[in-house]
Symmetry: C2
Subunit: 422 residues, 2 copies
């Protein structure tokens, strides 16, 4: 059973049939939002029933997702496409939620949970969106899927597509970090390195997608990707026994992830799985915070430069500002900006207090929590969940900036003894 | 209930009391093997009972492990130490087992499963050993734990110790790759970079461990670490519904991992969980294969140079040859050596056919399976499990060697059209 009813434009309200190849609003170009029959979901599922599910992946919440029923785990009515095989390729989701007592103390906070999404197959939260993209692309009958990106979206798409036997075309600007390009090539993507700016790259990809009819995986264009991302909120809720934390901290770039998190919590609230909603903490880098600035100043967003080491959220012109601004405002959210030094410090904190190795954008949420407690924006006795969105192994250069230096000595026990004493 | 009965030296047979701070045999210096009351385990547990367990981590097999009962999930008799909290820090184990149809076809094999242990918290199988080391170190009352290594053992120890609030001293030779040193430092380890060879480094660490009484985490010295590693075999068996594959392929360096895998299968056989044992495929690099050479020539092992890109298995003087040689022989195993080119090719194969990004040593097992099929060493209709021991994000430099080059072009649709046609 697929409970999707329609797709609604967040700008003009126009309604669209939820075909698998949806992009943006046909009328105004606005971003679409996927809507469900929540009464139907409520009748089909409750928190108690979740206990019996043995599928520990993002697909365990299938009633809340724009997919047909799984042939292996339920009745198969009212659906034309059974994406069972495609959705169970790489194991995406059900990342651990750690209760971090020592880190909470260091931050002066009563209770802090870290949700480590760096543990996903290609080491970032973006796997949730890409796995969904593959299922919808197959449903649409596409053979090829494409996007333009240099980061986690690209590598997650390449990896999940490889697992499903789909071809990918991925457009990157020539300056893309070699490590990420290597990851793409290992996954067998056609990587097109464009001699030009990111804008040039994006334009060329758009022309090619149009001309060749490739399936479009761009989080702010394809509305289904957010439906994948929202599963991280479902997991947080279930892992906490459906008791909501006071705050959920998310690092924000183009705005798709924080919007997805909010959508997930709202879905659960709508169906009675949870009885209250958390407040969002939107954390951006000081050097690139157009969304937080818009909230703080109470007006529309305007572009900014991209001055931060946290490359995954260095987005001066966010692609999904409408949904993100709406999510922060609707949740009565908190916005906070952090410096690169504060991000590096949060990387050390996560590593030293709990063995979690986050990339800069992955540690940004935690940097924001620290600062929000220090500045009194959130209360010491609050319960907070902070989302780590990607692994530090993706960006070893910045990890080294965070990490400091080892003790360098001659192989001599007397010397070592002195150093250890000191 | 802890079912450990004793520790037995694999060289001289001397029996030792299973104290938590065991190292090597007091009589002859041989490596110890932990023994269990298998009748007791059989009475306490069967495959059917496993279905009700919701702990999806390496600790779900607690009866087979040298640990006390978990306070939260069973009766607590005959134990003095409840390591519940320590063992549930980072979520280690229950890595995915993927059935890879396309890869199997490419290799000319009927059925091939890939067990991706790169998905562990610090991105390698070594987390299983380090998580166990932390529990035993705490049980021994140690405050500090130490090892000398430059690779996955070091980073997994540092990460798991950080999560448990333990101090670590990790000795690395000055030449250690900066990325891995950064990982150690992010996890807050005291990293001692020694101006000298690996031998100098090891000696200094041994002196310091002796002098300061630190807990010793060296896989070939501390017999409990293999007990952590064997959980990967338990998972393979359970994920296959307790039906054994014909072969299990493992890349081999110092010999601890393949010995651990074998120990796991033997534990299951001994207790009736499985009714036959698989044959091991021991895969080494051509440039460094002392264990496979000993098997092939039917005599004892002798040291070799360390000429391979697969740094994690570049071990010319294996630390655990006795257990490894025994495991391969006892399983009627197959040995095969692969070139660096074959390893790079296997990295591409895993990435392109299933979105799995392995480090060189992680792809070595699969390189061996490919070659073993090609050379007729194993049958086309065999069922094979190949173990991926670590993530490719750990070694981006070699990934780039495997990956090839992207298509570099001007941002021009006419040019792109031509290139795609070609």
């Amino acid at each position: 059973m697929n409970y999707v009813t329609k797709a609604v434009c967040v700008k003009c309200g126009a309604e669209h049939k939820p075909t698998p190849d949806l992009t943006t609003c046909e009328k105004c170009g606005g971003i679409l939002d996927i809507r469900y029959d929540y009464d139907g979901i409520r009748r089909a599922l409750d928190p108690l029933a979740m206990k019996d599910r043995t599928d520990y992946s993002m697909w365990r919440y299938r009633e809340f997702l724009p997919i047909g029923n799984c042939a292996s785990c339920g009745t198969s009515v009212h659906h034309s496409y059974v994406p069972d095989a495609d959705r169970h390729r790489l194991r995406v989701g059900w990342s651990p939620l750690y209760k971090t007592q020592r880190l909470a103390s260091e931050l002066g906070l009563k209770t802090l949970y870290i949700k480590d999404d760096g543990i996903n197959p290609t080491a970032s939260l973006k796997d949730r969106a890409s796995a969904m993209a593959i299922v919808k692309a197959k449903e649409a009958g596409a053979k090829v899927i494409a996007c333009s990106s240099t980061g986690n979206a690209a590598s997650s798409l390449a990896g999940n597509a490889a697992a499903a036997g789909m071809e990918t075309y991925i457009f990157v600007p020539e300056r893309a970090p070699k490590g990420k390009v290597a990851q793409l090539l290992v996954f067998g993507a056609h990587v097109i390195s464009v001699k030009g700016s990111y804008e040039d790259t994006f334009r060329l990809s758009a022309e090619a997608i149009e001309e060749y009819g490739w399936y479009n995986r761009n989080a702010a264009i394809n509305p289904y990707l957010m439906e994948g991302k929202k599963t991280v909120a479902f997991e947080i809720a279930e892992q906490l026994g459906w008791r909501m934390p006071d705050y959920v901290a998310v690092s924000v770039g183009d705005g798709c992830t924080i919007s997805g998190v909010w959508k997930g919590f709202k879905d659960l609230f709508e169906t009675g799985f949870i009885d209250r909603l958390p407040r969002l903490i939107s954390v951006q880098a000081e050097g690139c915070c157009p969304i937080n600035r818009a909230i703080a100043e109470g007006k529309g967003w305007t572009p900014m430069e991209e001055n931060t080491i946290a490359d995954s959220i260095a987005v001066g012109v966010p692609r999904n500002p409408d949904k993100a601004l709406n999510a922060i405002r609707e949740s009565n959210g908190v916005v906070i900006n952090v410096s690169d030094d504060e991000i590096l410090s949060a990387m050390r904190l996560l590593g030293r207090s709990y063995g979690i190795f986050a990339e800069p954008a992955g540690a940004t949420g935690t940097a924001g929590v620290k600062k929000a407690v220090e500045t009194g924006l959130i209360e010491h006795d609050a319960t907070v969940v902070s989302l780590v969105t990607g692994s530090g192994l993706k960006d070893v250069a910045n990890a080294m900036k965070a990490a400091g230096e080892p003790l360098l000595i001659e192989p001599d026990m007397d010397l070592l003894r002195e150093k250890i004493k000191a």
